[in-house]
Amino acid sequence: MSKLYVHAAPPTDLNKNTEWFMYPGVWTTYILILFFSWLLVLSLFGCTPGMAWTIVNLCHFAVTYHFFHWKKGTPFAEDQGIYNRLTWWEQIDNGKQLTRNRKFLTVVPVVLYLIASHTTDYQHPMLALNTLAVFILVVAKFPNMHKVRIFGINADH
């Protein structure tokens, strides 16, 4: 087992909720989790590979929408609630838009969509659901949507 080492310098992010995303290895872990969950779905349900990718895509949509764009604030109280109005997506990189991390996270749903629709041969019910998922996720990540709450959904009282 070759020992690969990576060097990490502590980043200058004061927000402990998003600082962990700036260390090496996060992108690889994300992709590996998606791949292994596809294998898990295949072995549990015994469906076609395309159906499995569709299920992974839709679960990925539900999970990332809930945790990146719906839940606000931080899971600990040390910062005294200064981020309570911001979702995780709005907090990362200190609010700076179009950084490398943000571009990577925008590309992942699109690639998942392409894989899912290709392996299901663009058939009818799966294609509509996959398209809806990628549309919502990518629009939520636009720079113009920073701190925007449509129709007041998820705004503070």
């Binding site: 990490a8 502590p10 962990w20 690889t28």
Partner: protein, 489 residues
């Protein structure tokens, strides 16, 4: 710069992801079950939002027995740890009356003043009889005794500044001084790994805060240039004051600050420097005067020097040392001086006696012996740990050595296994350290003997093999091979 094995980084992310997922599922079920049962809020709003204490409820409480262990003796080289047990999977812990005598590798007892000392303790008892345990008053009203004045002169002379002011609590020294020194329209540039007290004080001051990469003077220069060129946010007027805050030894890394380069950068751009010597005063330097002495920096170049008495002097409280005008100003404005009770007289006497011992003014050479012993102990321990293959942070001569653990499951494993073998170790996780970089932090003391350190090394090596934290290849034992060859001849 921390070197992480790549596979360990991936598994650490995956473990935290799994812990997070399980925590969220349990919260979901708790919410569903609570929806069916009636709540006992009686119309009041809940105290905290459910998501704010998620980390405490679902991650910290699971390994709660590794933190906050009650002790039953003075924190000397050996310490009595009270045993606890839990019936509901660590949600609540109950104390027993059993006590374990453990080797103490967690207390900030750098010079061994934490337990009874032959010079300091009789004098402390005498001052307790004369002045009683508390002054029962603020410094301004009736709480400044002759001891307090003597202490302030003693500290100023020891640190090498014209004047000093002393407070009753170390954390408060930072968080109450920064708002007084700088306000709205000023700029605080602080190291990214500064202590929570500095972050709190900076946030309370109302000044703009910028962070520079840990211990990187070139990035500090970049940040200074950018900020001076831009000026205040929105109005772009020049900043009223710029203060750069660094620490002498960083408590979670054991690293020394690159003080000469940082002072040079600050002088070039006319920014004030604030040095927090909480862990380095009394512990490093030839005569124990801190990082300035160790790195050869003139104390007149640092504008404000702050320190605490909890680590090397075996007492409590903090001090600020600076020019006479600065200390005079602080005595008129700082709320910790005007409204908080002054430092307890026996604690003040302990500090004065400890400083006398360190400087050799008590007539013996115990101070110099202690300083030499802590240097030897730290260098020996660190080199042995590194030879065994552990990833140990920190510079030479620093008495703090964190051993990297990374995976969240190794934190309780290491802590509990060491406690079973009667070695008390402090493990630190999120949010005191970054999420990935959990560590076990060892503080070496001058009170540790060579036998103590060798026993500690054996236990840590054994537990390290069991838990799997020897991330670097161990150095081969060349000595034993040579002995074997000699015996054959």
């Amino acid at each position: 710069m921390i070197t992480i094995p790549y596979l360990t980084a991936l598994t650490t992310y995956f473990s935290y992801g799994l812990l997070f997922a399980f925590g969220q599922i349990r919260d979901l079920f708790r919410k569903i079950l609570d929806w069916w049962s009636a709540d006992n809020l009686q119309g009041y709003a809940p105290i905290c939002l459910g998501l704010e204490d998620f980390y405490i409820r679902r991650l910290y409480l699971r390994i709660q027995d590794c933190f906050g262990r009650p002790i039953a003796s003075a924190p000397d080289a050996w310490i009595d740890v009270v045993e606890r047990y839990s019936n509901d999977n660590n949600k609540t812990l109950k104390r027993t009356t059993n006590i374990n005598r453990c080797l103490n590798l967690g207390s900030y007892n750098y010079l061994g003043f934490a337990a009874s000392d032959e010079y300091c303790t009789p004098r402390v008892f005498r001052s307790l009889e004369t002045f009683s345990a508390s002054t029962c008053s603020t410094c301004v009203d009736g709480g400044t005794t002759v001891l307090h004045n003597e202490l302030e002169e003693c500290v100023a002379k020891f640190v090498g500044k014209p004047a000093a002011v002393v407070f009753g609590m170390g954390y408060v020294t930072n968080s109450a001084i920064l708002p007084v020194l700088i306000g709205k329209g000023g700029l605080i540039i602080s190291d990214s790994l500064n202590h929570n007290s500095i972050v709190n004080g900076a946030r309370g001051s109302g000044a703009t805060i910028r962070v520079f990469l840990h211990n990187t003077p070139s990035h500090l220069e970049e940040v200074l240039r950018e900020q001076i060129a831009e000026g205040q946010p929105r109005t772009h007027r020049p900043w009223k004051k710029i203060i750069v805050v660094v620490e002498g030894i960083y408590s979670m890394e054991g690293e020394l600050c690159k003080l000469p380069e940082i002072i040079a950068v600050c002088k070039k751009y006319k920014a004030y420097t604030y040095l927090d010597e909480a862990h380095s005063i009394g512990a490093v330097g030839k005569t124990g005067r801190g990082v300035c002495e160790l790195l050869g920096v003139d104390t007149a170049d640092v504008d404000i020097m702050m320190g605490t008495f909890t680590k090397s002097f075996g007492s409590c409280g903090g001090y600020i040392a600076g020019s006479k005008e600065l200390i005079q100003y602080l005595k008129y404005t700082c709320p910790a001086h005007l409204y908080a009770t002054s430092i307890s007289p026996p604690a003040a006497q302990q500090i004065i006696s400890a400083i006398k011992v360190i400087l050799g003014e008590d007539g013996s050479s115990r101070g110099a012996q202690k300083l030499a012993r802590i240097r030897e102990n730290s260098n020996f321990f660190r080199s042995e740990l590194q030879k065994m293959g552990f990833e140990v942070l920190g510079d030479n001569d620093s008495p703090i050595m964190p051993i990297m653990l990374y995976n969240p499951a190794k934190i309780p494993a290491f802590s509990r296994e060491c406690l079973k073998q009667n070695v008390a170790i402090v493990t630190v996780a999120f949010p005191a350290t970054p999420l990935l970089l959990a560590r076990a932090r060892i503080c070496i003391s001058a009170a540790h003997t060579k036998e103590d350190l060798i026993k500690a090394l054996e236990v840590i090596s054994q537990v390290g093999d069991l838990v799997g934290i020897k991330y670097f290849p161990a150095e081969p034992k060349k000595q034993q091979e040579e002995d074997g060859r000699l015996k054959l001849d």
